[in-house]
């Protein structure tokens, strides 16, 4: 997919802002994260007979202005789970390789880490996280992560933004260059959290228009 260069990204911070209508979206095939890769026996035992990650397709679009990138995700959800009280929140993430050739399904490794932005409906917040394998995620570098989600008409619309330039440990994005991007979605009503999620089948090439 391509991240189109725009002159001013501020018109794209709202997930239902009109300018997004003019940006072509990519259809991303999703699948349940493999059960065998879950980090412990308890999680495997408690989910082996329970369906999860049933979202089949996600729509993704992106723009950047040379300073910041915005990624907009749209996926079907019959009603939103805000994660208030005892509930689990709906959530989504976009991931980038930091270096090497990390396996997306395994959330990277020590040699090949992954840097992600994660949005959660609980508090409508987006955070930067780093992962070096399943279950290892920890706060990531400060990339001025921000995001906003809104649910309407049976769909979540979420925009996540960050700086292209990053301090040590993050995934560098450069205008005119290509990288790869991965996706994850959690269904809060189904108590999906951590590694129990829908993920994109693999990395997708992402080219930042010069």
């Amino acid at each position: 997919m391509q991240s189109l260069k725009v002159t001013d990204i501020s018109g794209f911070l709202d997930p239902v802002a009109r300018p997004w209508n003019g940006i072509a979206a990519e259809r991303v095939d999703m699948m349940p994260s493999p059960l065998g890769l879950q980090p412990n026996d308890y999680i495997i035992a408690s989910w082996e007979e329970r369906p999860y990650g049933e979202l089949e397709v996600l729509s993704a679009a992106s723009v950047h202005d040379g300073q910041r990138i915005a990624v907009r995700l749209v996926w079907e959800k019959d009603k939103p789970s805000a994660g208030a009280g005892e509930g689990f929140p709906d959530a989504a993430a976009i991931a980038f390789p930091v270096r090497g050739d990390p396996l997306l399904m395994q959330m990277g490794s020590a040699d090949a880490p992954i840097h992600a932005l994660q949005w959660r409906a609980r508090g409508n917040e987006t955070r930067s996280v780093n992962a070096e394998g399943i279950g290892s995620s920890k706060p990531g570098p400060d990339v001025a992560a921000a995001g906003k989600g809104g649910w309407s008409g049976g769909n979540w619309h979420v925009v996540m933004t960050r700086n292209l330039a990053v301090p040590q440990g993050g995934a560098v994005l450069v205008s005119g260059h290509a990288t790869r991007i991965g996706f994850a979605v959690w269904n809060g009503h189904n108590e999906e959290r951590a590694g129990i999620k829908a993920v994109s089948l693999d990395w997708i090439d992402l080219e930042l228009e010069a």
């Binding site: 412990n40 026996d41 308890y42 999680i43 408690s46 009280g85 005892e86 399943i134 951590a194 590694g195």
Partner: protein, 348 residues
């Protein structure tokens, strides 16, 4: 497994169900926002649904070493934290106003089935089971956390949640077969009993133990051969874990309850147990049979005027002996601190 392990023995023959322990814990640890519905210490009537309601049917723990799926308890199964109309009742001027909980008529709360118990009159029976986190040797909660946010301390085996790493996923809450983990919906973190770690580190007993008017709760290190815990668990073998079949190896142990014999239709005592042994076995496993025999035999010996170290330990004439090395008063610690700080030293 930790290098050392602190443990608690709870004598069910002495617990009067007064809930002083529950309130001591509540006041000390769970009075902040988001913790209103938390009871790190509960005392429920047995037989009964317990707290949370029906917790023994919620799964978790291990079977033949394999992790078992569990389900999340709901706040309503613990009991919602009700607000009461104190202002209206006490100061409102209406003599007929009565205390009512917020949110309509509640239908469950901790120890809701208080004193209902089991059996048929005149052979009805009940007893109380105080419960806290068991600081298990094989903590199912810790094994279930994908973030490694739960750890067991080497020096005392206390199981803690590192809230900086917790993301509120609650796999621990599902996996704990005792349902001793609570979710704080305000902070989005899981929380649990700390075995009063800051007190224990200073040699002060847990609040639930120290405030218990029944002298019910013994404390100490499992490997301290002179302490009451070692004596009760290993020497006399009268203190047993609750539901050993969950395979988490709890470090809270119970002295099973003795009861007067059953009466026959004419009201004469019979040979039959009042509390069905099958029921006690369902709680404490097969070893409860021998534990009760030992208790009965030692009780009889004492009655005949013979010495019984076991009975002396259980009676605990000297209150602080209950607490092994954790026998300091919080007041002493306060005084020590002030002296160490060089301030007000002479005022003590």
């Amino acid at each position: 497994m930790s290098d050392r392990q602190v443990a608690m023995v709870i004598d069910l023959n002495k617990c009067i169900g007064c809930q002083t322990c529950t309130i001591a814990c509540k006041t000390m640890w769970t009075s902040k926002e988001g913790m209103e519905g938390m009871w790190w210490n509960t005392v429920s009537t047995a037989p009964g649904e317990g707290t949370p309601k029906g917790w023994e049917q919620m799964g978790g723990g291990f079977r033949d070493g394999k992790a078992q799926p569990g389900r999340l308890p709901k706040q309503s199964e613990f009991g919602d934290p009700w607000e009461f109309n104190y202002e209206e009742t006490l100061f409102g001027g209406d003599p007929h106003a009565t205390l009512k909980p917020s949110g309509g008529d509640p239908d469950w709360g901790t120890n809701w089935d208080e004193d209902v118990g089991g059996g048929e009159y005149p052979n009805s029976f009940f007893f109380y089971i105080p419960r806290i986190c068991n600081h298990c040797t094989k903590p199912a909660c810790m094994e279930a956390c994908p973030r490694g946010a739960i750890f067991k301390r080497d020096e005392d085996g206390i199981v803690l949640i590192n809230e900086d790493h917790c993301r509120g996923f609650r796999f621990c809450q599902e996996a704990c077969p005792y349902k001793e983990i609570y979710y704080n919906a305000v902070t989005g973190k899981s929380q649990k009993c700390l075995f009063c770690l800051p007190r224990m580190e200073e040699g002060v007993a847990t609040a639930c133990s120290r405030q218990c008017p029944g002298r019910v709760r013994f404390l100490g290190f499992l490997d301290d051969e002179d302490g009451p815990i070692h004596k009760l668990v290993y020497d006399h073998k009268v203190a047993l874990p609750l539901h050993p079949e969950y395979e988490t190896e709890p470090n809270v142990f119970y002295i099973p309850p003795l009861a007067p014999p059953s009466f026959d239709a004419e009201g004469n005592p019979t040979e039959e147990d009042r509390i069905p042994i099958t029921y006690l076995m369902s709680l404490f496993g097969g070893e409860v049979v021998e534990a009760l025999e030992t208790l009965k035999a030692e009780k009889a010996a004492r009655k005949r005027g013979e010495p019984s170290e076991l009975m002396d330990t259980l009676i605990s004439r000297n209150w602080v002996d209950l607490f092994g090395p954790f026998n300091k008063s919080p007041k002493d610690i306060e005084a020590m601190r002030l002296m160490e700080g060089g301030q007000l030293g002479t005022a003590q």
